[in-house]
Amino acid sequence: MSVDSIPANREFAKQIGITFPVLSDFKRTVVKDYGVFNEEQGFGNRATFLIDKEGIIRHIDEGNVAIDPTTVVEACNVLQRKKASQ
């Protein structure tokens, strides 16, 4: 997800070969709700949130650490393992 328009995200996704849908928060409401809106620059700062099936946040990566998906993938695995053991 980014604050770019849908056509911009569509072109960007095509260029880098993304096949999953990319969300557009053009009105900046979600980046504000999630506390990552950069007022000076007008965009959402880089962040990754893992939200479980009950809608609860289970993991947060912010800033440059969010470039590397390793920690959020591990958090996903933990959630999956919990589910499997239940």
């Binding site: 849908p21 969300l23 990552v36 880089r46 962040a47 893992l50 939200i51 969010a66």
Partner: protein
């Protein structure tokens, strides 16, 4: 002349470190692990509209926010 050059270099170093600090300092969200994720409804590149709460009881969701299209990372 040499002194002026040295001052310029030092200033450059200070600004460089400040810029680096700004780049690496993570922005702080008010949200915490264990909080309820704010619901949202957004349109996507596939033309569909996605609502977070529609996934409740169905799937875990990874919400990845990137800075801007056509930029790295």
């Amino acid at each position: 002349m040499y002194k002026r050059l040295l001052t310029s270099l030092m200033l450059l170093a200070v600004f460089g470190v400040a810029a680096l600090a700004q780049q690496t300092a993570p922005p702080k969200t008010h949200l915490k692990v264990g909080d309820k994720a704010p619901d949202f409804t957004l349109r996507a590149t596939d033309g569909k509209t996605y609502k977070l709460s529609d996934f409740k009881g169905q799937k875990n969701v990874v919400l990845a926010i990137y800075v801007l299209a056509f930029t790295g990372g």
